[in-house]
């Protein structure tokens, strides 16, 4: 029986997952109610406690239903597990261990979330077009802004690593898959519950504490806060498992000859980000877990009247959430350097320094968190050390610029859409970087903290660097993923509209900060009216630029010209195989014999097919890894 045709049956696993979630939820809630009755804990029904206790079995039920049981857990009990489907659109809607399928699942999911949160940004700007606020009540505005924030943070965490990392890390190191393919699929299928929680929270009052969820606000606001907390814990689990998988994959699954100093820089950047994801994510999960316990279990971690301390939350939260910005931006750096080298047709300049820069940032990232708390009223003796450590981050970051500028220097640039995006990253991050210095410096931070200066700064670093790099990389790898070429002129239109509108939107926000506009406000003083109206109009143009992107993607997917295996004449391994790559990635075992960036060095190749008869040892490597 052929089940490869796409149809209603393709959604079978999702229905089974939903059924599993419903059963699990009922069991959990029933248990909670029984427990409350048995121990006489006041009323039998407590919404938040029952929901939290119901959520855990619901999540397990969802995972089992979607395929963890049929593709994986069944064999622990002596059963026969199902294999993956390898053809048809249906495979994207089920448990599938092919890293390329998972990469596409992540990429499409997070692009959809990006567009959704982008729409929320459009609503935010429409509201802020007038000083008293044009469309929302204050409470609604806070909830919309909070949802925009956390969804975009999730996109920033997972779109590049989960999407492009999953698809291209194994290809670029010459592996046939990730080290733990089933764990990989599990990481992805933890994501839909996160999206469902964040969206359904709005039906339960939403949450109005931003993406930072500082208590005591987050211990006293609407039920939606609990949905947010569970979403963070679930997403954190996904992120940690993903980080672990990347570290093991990169450490153990490299093709013969792929020494550490021959790894493409994008793979290094994923390695660096995975170190942070694995080490720090649990801090955020722990922080919101304590908030949840304060709400439903009567603990008082953050309640000052019973010995708790609200500042304690801020420290634990920023333990993760500062390093997290490097989870966002390091893969953006990696993509940028990758594209710059291939389109300047030059070796990646000072490769070892660039790797040192990435790993240097990882190292320092754990020692800088309290710079988010200079105005919090924390012990003043902490200010000087965190000023010093934070400014020190400029040194490894400078090495990234060294590599980027050295790479384009004296090159004849091939100004295709991916290259334009990569060059824009260098420009945008220059602005994001130098304004970071003002925020690291305590004196200037005292005035700028919590103002639109900060809003402008982090949009410059996250959109300006990571999201620009993401879109550049989508154009760069579109032919490899789909086997079709994108439309170059539409790509250029998208780039120039996005680049100009982005700068016109966010540069004036620095001035809004000087003039007394603080963050997260549903209304502002009249002196800021003209500036905000201008920003809103520019933001609408920025939003519209993504319509060009969507048009290009759909048109090219269905009617694009056929792409060759290597349309960019680039030298990394993913271009040595067909577009799209076959199931096991390579028809041959690649053997790496040199750097991926040997442009201008005669015929020095990066890799060759293994001589006929040589054994394929990827299976051995997988076993070693496991």
């Amino acid at each position: 029986m052929s089940r490869t045709q796409f149809g209603l049956h393709s959604f079978g696993p999702i229905f089974r997952g939903l059924l599993g979630a419903a059963i699990g939820f009922s069991l959990g809630v029933g248990l909670a109610v029984l427990g409350r009755l048995a121990f006489g804990a006041g009323e039998a029904w407590d919404f938040e406690m029952c929901f939290v206790i119901g959520y855990v079995p619901a999540l397990i039920g969802w995972l089992l239903g979607i395929g963890v049981w049929s593709h994986w857990a069944k064999e622990w009990f002596g059963g026969e597990v199902k294999g993956d489907e390898h053809k048809g659109a249906g495979r994207y809607f089920q448990f599938n261990t092919d890293h390329k399928v998972i990469g596409v699942q992540y990429l499409v999911t997070f692009l959809a979330l990006f567009l959704l949160a982008g729409l929320l940004a459009m609503l935010i700007r429409a509201h802020l077009i007038s000083p008293e606020g044009a469309i929302f009540t204050e409470g609604e505005y806070n909830r919309v802004m909070s949802m925009h924030g956390i969804i975009m943070v999730a996109v920033a965490v997972a779109a590049v690593i989960g999407g492009l990392g999953n698809y291209f890390v194994p290809l670029m190191i010459g592996a046939d898959d990730m080290a733990f393919p089933r764990l990989n699929s599990l990481s992805f299928w933890l994501v839909p519950p996160v999206a469902v929680l964040l969206l359904s929270a709005q039906a339960f009052g939403g949450w109005d504490s931003g993406w930072t969820a500082y208590p005591p606000l987050s211990t006293t606001n609407a039920h939606g806060q609990v949905f947010f907390n569970l979403a963070i814990i679930t997403f954190g689990l996904s992120s940690i498992l993903g980080g672990l998988n990347f570290l093991v994959t990169i450490a153990f699954m490299r093709a013969p000859g792929m020494t550490w100093m021959r790894i493409p820089i994008f793979v290094w950047s994923i390695f660096a980000a995975a170190c942070i994801a694995l080490t720090f994510t649990q801090m955020f999960a722990a922080a919101v877990l304590m908030v949840t316990l304060d709400r439903v279990a009567g603990t008082t971690f953050f309640n000052a009247t019973t010995g708790g301390d609200p500042l304690f939350y801020q420290h634990v939260f920023w333990f993760y959430s500062h390093p997290a910005v490097y989870i966002f931006v390091l893969p953006g750096f990696g993509l940028t350097l990758e594209i710059l080298a291939h389109f300047a047709r030059k070796p990646l300049f000072a490769y070892k320094f660039a790797v040192g820069g990435l790993m240097g940032i990882v190292f320092v990232s754990g020692f800088v968190w309290a710079h988010h708390m200079f105005v919090s009223g924390m012990n003043k003796n902490l200010m000087a050390p965190f000023l010093v450590t934070t400014e020190i981050i400029s040194i490894p970051t400078g090495l990234i610029f060294l590599s980027a500028l050295g790479t384009i220097w004296m090159g004849r640039l091939w100004l295709k859409t991916p290259m334009l995006f990569a060059l824009a990253v260098v420009f945008n991050f220059m602005i994001g970087g130098v304004t970071g210095i003002h925020l690291a410096d305590v004196p200037t931070d005292l005035s700028l903290s919590d103002t639109y200066f900060v809003v402008a700064h982090f949009h410059y670093t996250i959109i300006g660097a990571e999201i620009f790099a993401l879109f550049g990389a989508i154009y760069y790898w579109f032919p490899k993923i789909t086997g079709k070429m994108y439309d170059e002129s539409l790509g250029q239109v998208h780039f120039w509209t996005m680049f100009v509108a982005f700068n016109v939107t966010f540069l004036p926000m620095f001035w809004a900060g000087f003039d007394g506009m603080n963050r997260r406000v549903a209304s502002y003083t009249g002196n800021l009216a003209d500036l905000n109206a201008f920003i809103s109009v520019a933001a609408f143009v920025l939003g519209a630029s993504f319509l060009v992107f969507l048009l290009n993607m759909f048109q090219s997917l269905f009617a694009g010209a056929r792409a060759t295996a290597n349309p960019w004449y680039a030298r990394t391994l993913e271009w040595m195989t067909t577009s799209p790559p076959p199931l096991e990635n390579f028809e041959f075992q690649p053997v790496v014999v040199g750097t991926p960036y040997g442009y201008g060095n005669g015929a020095q190749p990066h890799a060759l097919p293994a001589p006929a008869g040589a054994s394929d040892d990827t299976e051995n490597r997988r076993e070693n890894a496991e």
């Binding site: 609200p310 000072a350 090159g411 007394g516 406000v521 502002y524 201008g600």
Partner: protein, 291 residues
């Protein structure tokens, strides 16, 4: 002092760079497969240096000419605005260098066509002394900004007054501010009145969730956290009034729930005699009420 410091560092950096470059210089490597002629490299260097110089001069000029903060009405604010200008002026040459290389690379003859990339560029792998010199320069600049304005200005902006002229209690609650003057016996005002040129200390607390005490005109801010009292000291330097300048307001700057954005009350900075009159009228009114 700061000018001497800046000059010393700015002179020191090229010297340091040269020293590092000399120390780490290696003998020329084996002949390279592709190189660009010495002429075109030096032409590119001169053009880029030209763009860099123009951008730097224009940028530093603009930074020194612009008043970033429209209102600066406290001693801390003056230090802060000064630090901001210094950091921004120092950032200009760095940013200008990035832009110069980008602009030169874009206007330089690009290559390739629809289907074929341009021929490979020169084989620069960055194995010479340049990256180490770069590391030295960036480390030097970072050290500079850590020392000045960072640590140098730090204590000036966070120190508290030992014996302030006026102590003002600020209590934050969802969603307003209560202002009290314990020494004057004035309680729970919805307006902050501050005498100019006097040492003022604010003792800031919160009744419910985290808030942040921020008067944009004073530039500095500090959070109000339940269970703690935050202390903020300053001297107001310019008289002013919310009705004329929106920077004279207490604005909550930490997300605190529904009406966070509109959690603001007016601020007036007045002369000492006006302040005395205001205190007298308030205490008289309070006495009248008690009778």
């Amino acid at each position: 002092v700061e000018i001497a410091l800046a000059v010393a560092v700015l002179l020191g950096i090229p010297l340091l760079t040269a020293a590092i470059a000399l120390i780490t210089e290696r003998p020329a490597r084996a002949p390279k497969p592709r190189t660009v002629s010495q002429d075109s490299t030096s032409k590119a260097t001169w053009i880029t240096l030209g763009i860099w110089t123009v951008l730097t001069v224009a940028g530093v000029g603009a930074v020194l000419a612009v008043d970033f903060y429209s209102t600066i009405a406290s001693d801390r604010g003056e230090d802060i605005a000064h630090a901001f200008t210094f950091l921004t002026a120092l950032a200009v040459p760095v940013a200008a260098m990035v832009v110069a290389v980008l602009v030169y690379s874009m206007i330089r003859r690009s290559g390739g066509d629809d289907l074929m990339p341009p021929e490979d560029g020169p084989f620069y792998e960055g194995k010479g002394p340049f990256p180490k010199a770069w590391l030295g320069v960036t480390a030097g600049l970072t050290l500079l900004i850590i020392i000045y304005p960072g640590l140098w200005t730090l204590n000036d902006v966070i120190r508290t007054h030992d014996d302030p002229d006026v102590v003002i209690n600020v209590e934050a609650l969802q969603w307003t501010w209560l202002i009290s003057y314990p020494d004057q016996g004035i309680e729970n005002q919805f307006e902050l009145v501050v005498p100019v040129d006097r040492e003022v200390t604010f003792l800031i607390s919160s009744r419910d969730v985290a808030h942040s005490f921020w008067v944009p005109a004073f530039l500095t801010k500090i959070d109000a956290i339940p269970g703690r009292t935050s202390e903020l000291s300053l001297i107001a330097t310019e008289t002013g009034d919310f009705s004329e300048n929106a920077a004279y307001r207490i604005q909550c700057a930490e997300l605190c729930g529904i009406s966070h954005a509109s959690m603001r009350i007016p601020v007036r900075v007045v002369t000492q005699s006006e302040f005395d009159d205001w205190v007298a009228s308030k205490t008289a009114a309070a006495a009248g009420k008690e009778d």
